[in-house]
Amino acid sequence: MTSALGFKDIGVVLGRNPILDGVSVDVEAGEWLGIVGPNGAGKSTLLRTVAGAVSYSGSVLVDGKAIDGKPHRERAKLIAYVPQRPLYPQGMAVFDYVLLGRTPYLGPLAAESRDDISDVWEALDALRLVDFADRDVASLSGGETQRVSLARVLAQRAPIVVLDEATASLDVAAQHEALELIDRLRTERGITIVSAIHDLTAAAQFCGRIALLDHGDVIGFGLPEEVLTEELLGQVFEPSIRVIDVDGSTVIVSLRTEETLRE
């Protein structure tokens, strides 16, 4: 179960402000597309269009077919979405939270079946959360809730997973672990991943391709080494960005310059 995703000429206007202006990007099946760019570039909005959480012009394509008019439930079977700051309801057990992933498969009147329950166990198992099943989801650490969200996504069994800044609030080690986990799920299950990432180094190391957004436009789209260049990043972020090679891995940092040091 693997699917390709395409954005065709996506435009979004919120109030009177154009947020996205004709964005076209495509993601191959089983690929990890990283969406980078400064705050306010439109990354989250682009991801929300995929998930059907915002109204837009243009088309979202899954395996070449437009899904814009599809009912919510059908869309939810194809695309799972984790927002930037998920709301973990106080008192809800981890098991119950992951069970929410089965929602698109349940009619409005149906209760969860034995198969739904076993899908939840399978997802908990895959993310080493079985011992957490009865814990209060609101009491977990950042890294643990991250895994809970991924388990919910797995339970949803969607071939495309959209993650908005999934690892923003984690420490370095937890972030790395989470990204590795996401990559493992991608390779093992052929899941297509689209994620907004602030950490450019992480984007360079984990994403197969990168879309660089600025002011609602795609400035660069391609392999990490093609897009994450000092020239392009300098244009979009600040001129002091350096792209360094450390033991074959790309590291992207912003240096303090003579100018800023003097201030």
């Binding site: 109030g15 929300r48 998930a51 059907g52 959480a53 919510h72 439930r73 059908e74 869309r75 939810a76 079977k77 695309i79 799972a80 979405y81 984790v82 927002p83 998920p86 709301l87 973990y88 309801p89 106080q90 008192g91 809800m92 057990a93 981890v94 098991f95 119950d96 939270y97 069970l99 929410l100 992933g101 929602t103 698109p104 349940l106 409005p108 009147l109 209760a111 969860e112 329950i117 076993s118 939840v120 166990w121 079985v130 099943a133 009865d134 209060d136 949803q156």
Partner: protein, 350 residues
């Protein structure tokens, strides 16, 4: 493959049986207590006598049979209906608005019913001249009208038709209707006592007529809330994420509000504005069992009925021969009880 593993939250059968037993016991005690005490065994015998193919000697005698079936039982049954409905409506409102303080009167159902009742009491024709009693009808229409007004106002907000705008609209509507009601109440001061009594709530006028008037609404509304309760858990993660899980949050919210309001309007029309039940019962259930609405809704329905039956017993007997308004009892007994549960629980409140 999952044998022995923790189960997550399910509606365990012993919770349901336990809550049902509490309700049954409350009903028995409710019909037992009064100026003339009835023996519990006689009551149970008389209950079973009503079943087909059962013929037991209840030992109550004709007069006590009449007290049991014509006076006490309808009142207790009405308490069950009112308590169950207000609790289920409270849980629904808390779920769809993700707000632990939400109660069935949040969007103006209470204020609207109060206004309707005040108009009926102050200006209405004598009940005997009408086919239907104007008081419950006016309260019913007022409650529905209040919530409808809040919805229209909330939805006319152009930017962001969210749960919060709806709550704010409800607050505005409730304040407006309450102000209007207070104005009428002050102007027509000769009916003040009656209006005030109605607002504090009472089951003293209950007969089988009231029960059969309210029961169809309650049954239908409870059924809808029960069947859809899983969706309240989905709404708990927020509208955006709930939408990406395949539901339409606005539509789900509307359906729950419609049925919670319809049921609330029906029970309020005969019982007056009994407060606190819709908040305390779902929260107590949450603290004792689970925060999942898959559990909270059914158990609240059972225990809410029991709670109101017990509150009504106190309302009847505490200062006999007078009655305390039941709304006063629910708060006086309910608040300390809730405080104890809050202190001794695991602290699971959403």
């Amino acid at each position: 493959m999952n044998a022995g593993r923790p189960s997550g939250t399910r509606l365990h059968w012993w919770w349901v049986v336990g809550a049902a037993l509490v309700l049954f016991s409350a009903v028995i005690v409710g019909v037992m207590v009064g100026p003339i005490a009835l023996a519990p065994l006689d009551i149970v015998a008389s209950l079973f006598n009503r079943l087909p193919l059962v013929d037991l000697e209840s030992g109550l005698g004709e007069r006590n049979e009449a007290i049991l079936w014509e006076i006490r039982m309808p009142r207790v049954m009405l308490a069950v209906l009112v308590g169950s409905m207000l609790s289920a409506a409270g849980a629904s409102y808390q779920g769809v608005f993700r707000n632990p303080l939400a109660d069935p009167y949040l969007l103006g159902a209470g204020a609207g019913a109060g206004l309707g009742a005040t108009i009926a009491i102050a200006y209405g024709p004598a009940a005997s001249g009408w086919i239907v009693d104007p008081l419950p009808l006016a309260a019913f229409i007022g409650a529905i009208g209040g919530v409808a007004l809040a919805y229209i106002l909330g939805y006319s907000v152009r930017s962001g038709r969210t749960a919060v705008t709806l709550i704010l609209a409800g607050v505005a509507v409730a304040a407006f209707l309450t102000a209007f009601q207070t104005f009428l109440q002050q102007r027509e001061s000769d009916t003040l006592r009656e209006v005030y009594g109605w607002i504090l709530g009472s089951l003293s006028t209950a007969g089988w007529g009231e029960v059969s008037l309210v029961a169809p609404y309650v049954v239908v509304c409870l059924a809808v809330v029960l069947v859809g309760r899983r969706l309240l858990d989905v709404l708990a993660v927020g509208d955006t994420e709930a939408g990406t899980l395949g539901i339409r949050p606005g539509r789900v919210r509307l359906v729950f509000v419609i049925f919670a309001t319809l049921g609330t309007a029906a029970v309020v029309s005969v019982s007056g504005l009994i407060g606190f039940v819709g908040i305390i019962v779902p929260h107590t259930v949450r603290l004792l069992t689970s925060a999942s609405y898959r559990v909270v809704v059914p158990i609240s329905i059972l225990l809410g009925g029991a709670f109101l039956v017990l509150a009504d017993i106190i309302a009847r007997v505490a200062v006999t021969p007078a009655e305390i308004p039941i709304g006063v009892v629910t708060a006086i007994i309910g608040a300390p009880f809730f405080a104890v549960v809050l202190r001794t629980s695991k602290g699971v409140v959403s």
